[in-house]
């Protein structure tokens, strides 16, 4: 049954490309959207009885190597959601090459679904490569100079990451004999961590950090995000980096290398460093999307810091922040896209007081930035609260204090953004601006709605997490 998540998008790609380019252009995005929504539906019901029942009846190939647990289901649902939003946002672009865009998004979804469902390191590497290749092409889909340069940097850096990960897999294969998560974990817990496994660990940490964009390894991320077309940068920031980088790290920490403290402390250090330096870097950026890129480095730092704890509550908090960050970061990218499509520029210094002309974008951006800064009562606060509680329970007091005080930096650079772009007197020359088109407004409203609902109904979310045994 899990293979459906791969086959349905594959079917989608084939259907879109059958009738040739003219019809395909119009039909592509809607078909991709359908696939995304089906995916959300399937992911959400994956834990339910219906799904288990069907699984016995229909036996598809690759049954053994693809499984779905709670973590996978949540990420699958988030992937579907963000992909859907990105597809809607693409309609907002002037000359959308929607046929190619639609099919490439489906390919990326296949890649991400694969990464999420596999249970052995080598196929994990294979699906990582799929997602990487598809996202290179997505970034440079309009073939302008900037996106090409950003894609090139992303391509080169992920090539380095691939080499490192492959080397690590090779060493692990040598020492353990097989690549399955369980096999490696059992072997390590039995045989203990020999020097060569440590070398493999270090390579793995470096490779995955490049993929996730943690601080010393992050350099490709700002260029790739800011130069990519709006819909693609939202997809990238929202879900691609998270699945390929953050999900893999969390999966490896919890399932494979749970006994080795090296990986945990390493990722906690990297997480804390990225929180602080990411926030500082975002402070004086003039380009709206570049600032959001650095901000997402900082927020990913929170997820990694919490996952690095290794405790069940740490994992649960990281998962909640994974979902929240996916929603409010994509929301901010949607706002950035709306502002860029209406005012024609991303330089914040040339914008001013847009809230009066673009009330919905202005309002949703306030929801987005407050949630990112971890200001209650929105969703960002609650996940950061759980992260700090997890840190505090595990005794990592210094990290907890860094995590709490860093949200002041986050708040600072978002206030600068608000003052420069939305909250203030309208800058002369921008009088003609109207509210962004439906393609930009609808996703921002949906995402803002999710952020506010998760925030306000947090007691229910808490009870749900408890029922799922996370807390």
């Amino acid at each position: 049954m899990p293979a459906l998540f791969l086959l349905i998008p594959l079917l989608g790609v084939i259907i879109i490309n059958l009738p040739g380019r003219k019809i395909g252009n119009r039909m592509a995005v809607w078909a991709a959207l359908a696939v995304a929504i089906i995916q959300i539906g399937m992911a959400v019901t994956s834990g339910s009885m219906v799904w288990q029942g069907l699984a016995q009846v229909v036996s598809l190939p690759f049954g053994a190597s693809l499984q779905i647990d709670l973590f996978t289901a949540v990420v699958l649902a988030t992937t579907g959601l963000i992909a859907a939003m990105s597809l809607i946002l693409d309609k907002n672009a002037e000359n959308p090459r929607s046929l190619y865009f639609g099919s490439l998004v489906l390919v990326t979804m296949m890649g991400m679904n694969g990464v999420v469902m596999v249970r052995d390191i080598f196929s994990l590497y294979v699906f990582l490569e799929i997602t990487a290749v598809a996202s290179f092409v997505l970034i440079s889909i309009n073939k302008e100079r900037d996106p090409l340069e950003g894609a090139f940097k992303y391509f080169v850096m992920s090539a380095v990451a691939t080499v490192l990960i492959l080397a690590a897999i090779a060493i692990l294969l040598l020492t353990v004999g097989s690549v399955g998560f369980k096999a490696v974990a059992d072997n390590l817990s039995a045989g203990g961590v020999s020097p060569q496994v440590i070398v493999a660990l270090i390579l793995f940490i470096a490779g995955l950090s490049i993929k996730a964009g943690l601080i010393p390894f992050h350099a490709w991320l700002p260029d790739a995000y800011s130069s990519a077309p709006p819909a693609v940068s939202m997809l990238l920031a929202g879900i691609i980096t998270k699945v390929t980088g953050v999900y893999t790290i969390m999966r490896l920490i919890t399932d494979v290398f749970s006994i080795s403290s090296i990986m945990k402390t390493a990722f906690m250090v990297l997480g804390a460093v990225s929180i602080v330096i990411g926030a500082l870097a975002a402070m004086r950026q003039d380009d709206f999307k570049r600032m959001l890129a650095y901000s997402s480095i900082s927020q990913v730092g929170y997820i990694i810091l919490s996952a690095g704890l290794g405790t069940p509550l740490g994992f649960a908090a990281a998962l909640l922040h994974f979902f929240n960050h996916a929603t409010f970061k994509s929301l901010l990218f949607v706002n950035a896209a709306a502002v860029e499509s209406r005012s024609g520029t991303r330089q914040m210094s040339r914008l001013g007081g847009l809230a009066s002309k673009m009330p919905i974008t202005g309002g949703t951006s306030v929801v987005g930035f407050l949630s990112t800064a971890g200001v209650p009562p929105l969703s960002g606060f609650w996940s950061k609260l759980l992260i700090v509680i997890a840190l505090w329970q595990a005794g990592a007091y210094f990290y907890a204090v860094v995590a709490v005080l860093a949200s002041i930096l986050t708040l600072a650079y978002f206030l600068i953004m608000q003052r420069r772009v939305f909250f203030g007197k309208l800058r002369e020359g921008l009088e003609s601006i109207r509210e962004a088109g439906a393609a930009a407004v609808v996703p921002s409203l949906i995402l803002a709605g999710i952020t506010v609902l998760v925030g306000l109904l947090f007691p229910l979310v808490l009870l749900l997490m408890q029922s799922q045994g996370l807390i």
């Binding site: 791969l6 594959l10 790609v13 190939p61 690759f62 190597s65 693809l66 090459r97 190619y100 099919s103 490439l104 390919v107 296949m110 890649g111 694969g114 596999v118 080598f122 196929s123 294979v126 699906f127 490569e129 799929i130 290749v133 598809a134 290179f136 092409v137 440079s140 889909i141 073939k143 294969l173 040598l174 020492t175 353990v176 004999g177 097989s178 020999s194 020097p195 060569q196």
Partner: protein, 170 residues
């Protein structure tokens, strides 16, 4: 498992491999670089045979030595060779950057040589799959990779279509 005679061959082949790789990077003419690259793949194939993994060797020989080299050569033949000064300038630039390469190699070599005894590499008995046929390897042991292969090819196709097909309008 590695007896002394194998050791000697290995050292020769590995140094040959390194030599042709450096040659491929340093050579001025693109065509010669492509051929050097093919040479690297051939030597790699021989090493794989020696190490007892025939299947991988076969793929390496056919794909890397054969197919990729062919594509490279056809692409290079289409391009206009750069003038002498450009080539010389590029070479001088490359030389300046790669001065450090040999020093780095030597360092890593010495480091490995020293650390080797303490590393206590226990190479696990890896299922070499010598006895398995191609069909069993592809379909049973690594069946998911087939699906992965298909999707990667799909992504590659879209990449080529999107990036290289220039539109009529321009």
């Amino acid at each position: 498992m590695l007896d002394s005679s194998m050791n000697v061959w290995m050292v020769i082949l590995l140094s040959l491999l390194l030599l042709s790789a450096v040659f491929a990077v340093m050579i001025r003419d693109l065509l010669k670089a492509a051929i050097a690259l093919a040479a690297v793949s051939v030597v790699l194939t021989v090493i794989m045979f020696l190490l007892g993994s025939p299947l991988a060797a076969v793929f390496e020989l056919s794909v890397c030595a054969g197919l990729i080299t062919a594509i490279f050569i056809s692409a290079i033949s289409l391009t206009k060779p750069g003038t002498q000064e450009e080539l010389a300038a590029k070479r001088r630039l490359r030389l300046k950057r790669f001065i450090y390469l040999p020093i780095l190699l030597v360092l890593i070599g010495v480091g490995l040589w020293l650390a080797w005894p303490s590393l206590k590499l226990d190479i696990a008995a890896v299922g070499t799959g010598a006895g398995l046929s191609v069909q069993q390897v592809l379909w049973d042991a690594r069946s998911l990779d087939i699906l992965g292969q298909i999707i990667i090819i799909l992504a590659g196709v879209f990449g080529v279509v999107v990036l290289f097909r220039g539109r009529k309008a321009r």
